[in-house]
Symmetry: C2
């Protein structure tokens, strides 16, 4: 049989990151390429205890079908937490549980965009979201990232000139891949432009609680007087990535449609992980655990920046993130970036070529993304040293 695939899928390639992750799994490669949370931040003992208790006290709820909106006590706890910590959630908003933030992102696109409609994205941006939008048949328009967020003039230009814009997709805090945090002024400007042009904002905040330096900046959702913002969060970086639990807070008309779409995708998110997330929120030292994670990432990020200074010195420039998992490193203009990444991989260090994150992969890009959460301290020291050797010896 000769297979003919749908237009939206036919042109889609597997995510470069997932492929690199697969290729390097189980091998002796230093993983600056992944986006995995540090395994030492998983509260394993608590998960063990809670799981045992859940399966003792109410196994049937954990093992039977649940409702699509998600485990009611978890939704209640999250709503309260978001209100207290991020000042989000109006009476007109609703919260529901998704199978990781990725599903929230995909559902937002599915309910808002017809094939051919435009989503405005930061460029570079998270490749998982870009590919998800592409698989839904949406057209992407990239707005360049600056050191304090999107270029606002170019954003307005895109809103004026791109056809059928339905959504602006942003990761305002410790962005993946750049590590950039969008300033308060730019958050306000993005909100004002969305309102002016009548489009929705998809605010993706998976790293929101992982600030290890500086002061919190208000979420765009906290400014949402007009019901424009779909806010997506996740337990992947604070509890466990493998449990696949995320959440969406959005105006209830939008949530209603997203829930119907979710029914058709996976009926509901696995129950045991949802109940575990609830226990973690309500019976654990949540704040203390977040502080522990922040300490780990501050240490690792600082170490990586120190080593970059030591081994690559003034040859490269890189972002200095205040949180999250990534930094973005611009290579010298004369160094061909993809060749550099390939040579580094051959020397045992996996990095992701920056163009993987562009809306148009062919656009010029001389940066690589470096992840500091996955590697051990020893791997960070050793890996950056190798990156320096590769730069000096091969280019």
């Amino acid at each position: 049989m000769n297979y003919t695939f749908s237009n939206r899928i036919a042109s889609l390639q597997p995510s470069i990151i997932r492929e690199i992750l697969k290729a390097s799994s189980g091998q002796n490669v230093i993983p600056f390429s992944a986006g995995n949370p540090a395994p030492e931040t998983f509260p394993i003992e608590a998960i063990r205890t809670f799981t045992q208790s859940i399966l003792e006290q109410d196994p049937v709820t954990a093992l039977q079908y649940g409702i699509t909106e998600g485990y009611v006590p978890l939704r209640a706890a999250l709503q309260q937490h978001l209100e207290q910590n991020f000042n989000t959630g109006k009476p007109s908003d609703q919260l529901f549980i998704v199978s990781g933030a990725q599903q929230g992102i995909e559902l937002a696109c599915k309910v808002l965009c017809n094939e051919g409609d435009t989503i405005i994205c930061e460029s570079p941006s998270f490749i998982g979201s870009l590919n998800s939008f592409r698989a839904s048949g949406a057209k992407l328009a990239g707005v360049p990232m600056e050191t304090d967020g999107m270029d606002i003039d170019k954003l307005e230009h895109a809103l004026q000139t791109e056809p059928n814009v339905k959504m602006i997709y942003v990761i305002p805090s410790f962005q993946n891949p750049t590590g950039v945090t969008t300033s308060l002024e730019k958050r306000q400007a993005i909100y004002a432009l969305a309102k002016k042009y009548g489009v929705m904002i998809l605010e993706d905040n998976p790293y929101g609680e992982l600030r290890f330096k500086g002061e919190d900046v208000p979420t765009i959702k906290s400014m949402d007087e007009d019901g424009l913002v779909i806010y997506v969060g996740s337990f992947s970086k604070i509890l466990s990535a493998g449990l696949r639990v995320g959440f969406v807070q959005a105006p209830h008309e939008v949530v209603e449609k997203m829930v119907v779409a979710k029914q058709g995708e996976d009926v509901h998110t696995a129950m045991l992980p949802q109940i575990l997330a609830h226990r973690f929120m309500t019976e654990y030292d949540y704040a203390g655990h977040i502080n522990l994670i922040r300490d780990v990432y501050l240490r690792k990020a600082t170490l990586m920046m120190d080593k970059l200074q030591e081994h690559l010195g003034d040859a490269v420039t890189y972002t200095r993130p205040d949180g999250g998992l990534f930094l973005w490193c611009d290579l010298p203009a004369h160094v061909p970036m993809v060749d550099y990444a390939k040579t580094a991989a051959a020397q045992g260090v996996a990095v992701v070529p920056g163009n993987a994150f562009l809306v148009n992969e062919q656009d010029p890009c001389n940066a690589i993304r470096l992840n500091f959460s996955t590697p051990s301290d020893e791997q960070i020291a050793k890996g950056v040293e190798i990156l320096g050797q590769v730069l000096r010896n091969s280019f």
Copy 2:
């Protein structure tokens, strides 16, 4: 803000079944409306032991990101199991893990169908699949079910006359909602027609191992010499529905595209549930457990049919399933079915109006779907008695 939703989502309504399930949850209603596996079939003790052992021995694998294709040992065990028990899987096939069979069904549609393409479905059929196809923008063409499967002449007529048919969707064993098992002859005929007209078959087999009477009929996938069949299965009815683990076996070109689409939906299926499913397959008396479930469902189905005979006698006709969770009951011609279902609900018995499962909900239908897996024996006896009273007293 006035929200404008995508065309594919705007017209979609929440699944009637999920809404009924929500409305009746926590209430004192006899649940003939759900599709839940009997909770007494969950191997709770084993799940408890396995979970503890997984979180002792290899917690990081259970809690960290995994690859989109799924947990490798589970895929290997499943492949062997399917080959031995269902005679499926050619060298050109591949198997991957999904977040419940529902996701496999949705992904098949996403990768094969453009908006407006046609999927041929049994009518009635599983509403979750029908709604998932609708949410993808596909057009549905229903082929009436007979007591031994689809009307084959009408299937060929649909293949000749419907525009851009991409897929035939079938549940050949103990179909939801009718309980009908498609005969070997009709399975062969469906396969031959798919081959003749160059379309794929989506074979949904969630109840495949739940035969409690009669002899197994070969799967359509076992006849797949030409790479036409996407086979979808699930752990929901044999291990736990709430864990959301299913699988797809299909030609590797098709699986490759489905995996890319899955990346954009939920990255991967939750790891702990996948590892649990693997332990269940390899370290538990799987065959003995399946036999236990079969005994429970044989007892419940027999009880429901006996009580229908006793209380509704010759006034109704109903299917006599050899497995699965459902039977399909035709009311007398003079009884308005939706009114009957409403009256029964008011008397404390929830049933699903049959038209919910039709490709065109407006088509004439005088049947209700009855589920025998969820209610207790006492509820079955009492509930059917009430159904008889409602029929005699109100109509």
